[in-house]
Subunit: 403 residues, 2 copies
């Protein structure tokens, strides 16, 4: 909608996997989402512009080729991945679906570009999670200069992802980097922080709202905290809540994607942007939501729960994010301002959240999935969740690369 | 066969994709290969031991789970990948098949291990090609110590692969490293050099021979040179033939795999072996084959052909390969000795090579595949094969990491 309002000719492609899957796992968007024909009609009515749309699956190469041939795009913004880390850790089918959909889908996109739109610019949504959260190094934008045995070189920053989903994104980054080198494609690979918000500037009417997921799989941390606050549940940071992550407001995320599209990579270039605004600790976010929620008359509490993930909870986190700023990115909102907008929006949809309240608390543990209890038992070695986490990080510190 | 002769209880799993696919692309093994029931019977007759066998596809998770439950393996030697780089560069279907088969197949293997054999040791065949051939750094065994902004860390050595096949192996290495960390699996990831040879020590009878491919896809460089020498065709190094690669004799490769199996990684350990014996230049190999072929009465010539691959032809290549030696690996053969054995074997099967002689010369170019001529044209920008290669490496030196 943002690109169309700026005068670009825009086509959408979707197979509606996410809206269907969120329902399957027993949740729904807090914001009501119209069917696509109604959304497109509403957009035309409100903004006076048309967006064309193709329903289909990018795993279907014939479909994808037809779309490419019909649209001959200058830019492709690829957001068509299974986007949830917890979903990918749920069980074998979900892990397989995630890597299959993401790796093969992206391979199809770059192959179709090579065949039908070799000059187009691929803007690919990756994630800051590709780098992982175990490194003491300051995280650069994709590449860094190192010294080894007296020689220097610029090499890709190591990716140490923490879920099958995050690894699928790493595989895609590697495939895209290769396609740029091999076929002379051009791409911007976006290591995005965690996005929060209920609406972009174009969503001036409820008929144009984007989805807002709050379940354990598709809801991200700030969105989940806001939904919990509105529903009257305690906010639930995982473990100590000291995990530090990069964040970006939805409105600013759209600003960044627009910059990437309008100031494209050059032919053959593979460039990496770290797309975030601020770094926060998870408990710190819970405090913000509590403060602003209470101001709005909500009764917000915080209740830490055992961490279902295998992750380091206390760690350094320094990220370079300069390239987008150099191209003109200016953050437009303070987090407190956005949290107010979000909570006010969600208060209107409180009933929709309460209808699906069972979807909020996490059921997916990072170890073993819902697979064989026996195997999980062996791995747990009788340790409690918390002790196991500590044991894991101690043990693995010796055996894995010390990032 | 080698492990069974050493007293291990061995089961094989195969879907016969390679033997079928080599026929589909118009070639065949130079050595005649029996059907599996006959091979197993012959092995029993010659060596007095049984190997059990399961026909099926590791993409079929139910099948794989059943095999795991029935065998409860101590070690899994995973060789079930599409093994050819040129095949993966042929067209979209082949690229997709390669990444789908390899990434999803390996994901199934590690998931089934977690569920049904969590203490087993995964010996996974990777390739030296995962590191690529553009780095000036000495290539370590998987990980290396670097310095960045005054901080030091041990990180994975960057992988800069050169084909969809090689990248699929990188994706697998990453997934396996994660499974070791996440689930406490154990694995040896083998970065193997190029294997050459017609037989292992157990193949004392023609009924036990392994396959020997000489087509452009499944034939590796020394094997192809030997087949060309026997068939009376000139040996065909690609381009200048100055590409340097690591090599290992088939017999020694089996020795290394045996060491990996019998001296397993510890629980939670992900270890990487560089499995090679010597580094040779491609033209140097052509000279060896010429010399030994002529001694055996063949009339061997060399005729360089345009390089169908996108690769650096002149490059540094220093590889550390110490871990296997520390575990007892001792190379047992000089290359000249093996080349004699190979050529003598192949002379007996000369007619079989001549029947498929059209399969020898390369048809798959690294740019564009057999896809849209238009796209290929855009990328070639009118340059000849040779000029394009130079142009590519010059341009991309600026834009890609200087490995």
């Amino acid at each position: 909608m943002h690109l169309a309002c700026r005068g670009h000719s825009v086509s959408g492609v979707d197979n509606f996997w996410r809206r269907n899957e969120v329902k399957k796992i027993g949740s729904d968007s807090a914001t009501p989402i119209l069917e696509m024909p109604e959304r497109l009609a509403a957009f035309k009515k409100v903004h006076g512009r048309e967006i064309s749309f193709f329903e289909g699956d990018i795993l279907d190469y014939q479909f994808l080729s037809d779309v490419m041939k019909q649209t001959r795009p200058d830019a492709i913004v690829h957001l068509a991945e299974q986007p949830s880390a917890p979903y990918s850790m749920m069980n074998r089918d979900a892990a397989y679906f995630t890597q299959n959909n993401n790796v093969n889908g992206t391979l199809n996109v770059i192959y179709a570009m090579m065949q039908f739109a070799p000059d187009a610019h691929l803007v690919k949504l990756g994630t800051m999670g590709e780098y992982g959260y175990d490194t003491d190094f300051e995280i650069p934008e994709g590449f860094f200069d190192v010294e080894y045995k007296g020689k220097k070189a610029t090499i890709p920053f190591p990716r140490m992802a923490g879920s099958w989903y995050h690894w699928s994104k790493v595989h895609d980054s590697n495939n895209i980097m290769f396609a740029c080198r091999l076929w002379g494609l051009r791409s911007t690979d976006i290591m995005q922080g965690i996005v929060y918000g209920t609406r972009t500037r174009e969503m001036t009417d409820d008929s144009l709202l984007t989805r807002f997921d709050f379940d354990e799989s598709f809801g991200t941390v700030i969105n989940r905290f806001c939904a919990e606050a509105v529903a009257g549940f305690p906010l639930t940071p995982y473990g100590q809540g000291k995990q530090r992550r990069g964040f970006i407001d939805l409105v600013d995320s759209i600003q960044c994607l627009t910059i990437a599209v309008e100031k494209p990579a050059t032919k053959r270039e593979y460039r990496v942007f770290n797309q975030l605004d601020e770094v926060y600790g998870v408990s710190e976010l819970a405090e913000y939501v509590t403060k602003i929620g209470n101001k709005l008359g909500l009764d917000v509490r915080v209740s830490h729960i055992p961490n279902p993930r295998v992750e380091k909870e206390v760690h350094e986190y320094h990220v370079i994010h300069e390239k987008l700023k150099q191209l003109g990115f200016r953050p437009t909102r303070e987090i407190s301002e956005t949290l107010q907008i979000m909570l006010k929006d969600l208060i209107r949809f409180k009933d929709r959240i309460l209808q699906k309240k069972d979807a909020i608390s996490p059921k997916t543990k990072w170890v073993g999935g819902t697979g064989s209890a026996q195997a999980v038992e062996v791995i747990l070695e009788g340790a409690s969740d918390k002790r196991r986490m500590v044991a894991n990080s101690k043990k693995s510190d010796k055996l894995r690369p010390q990032l």
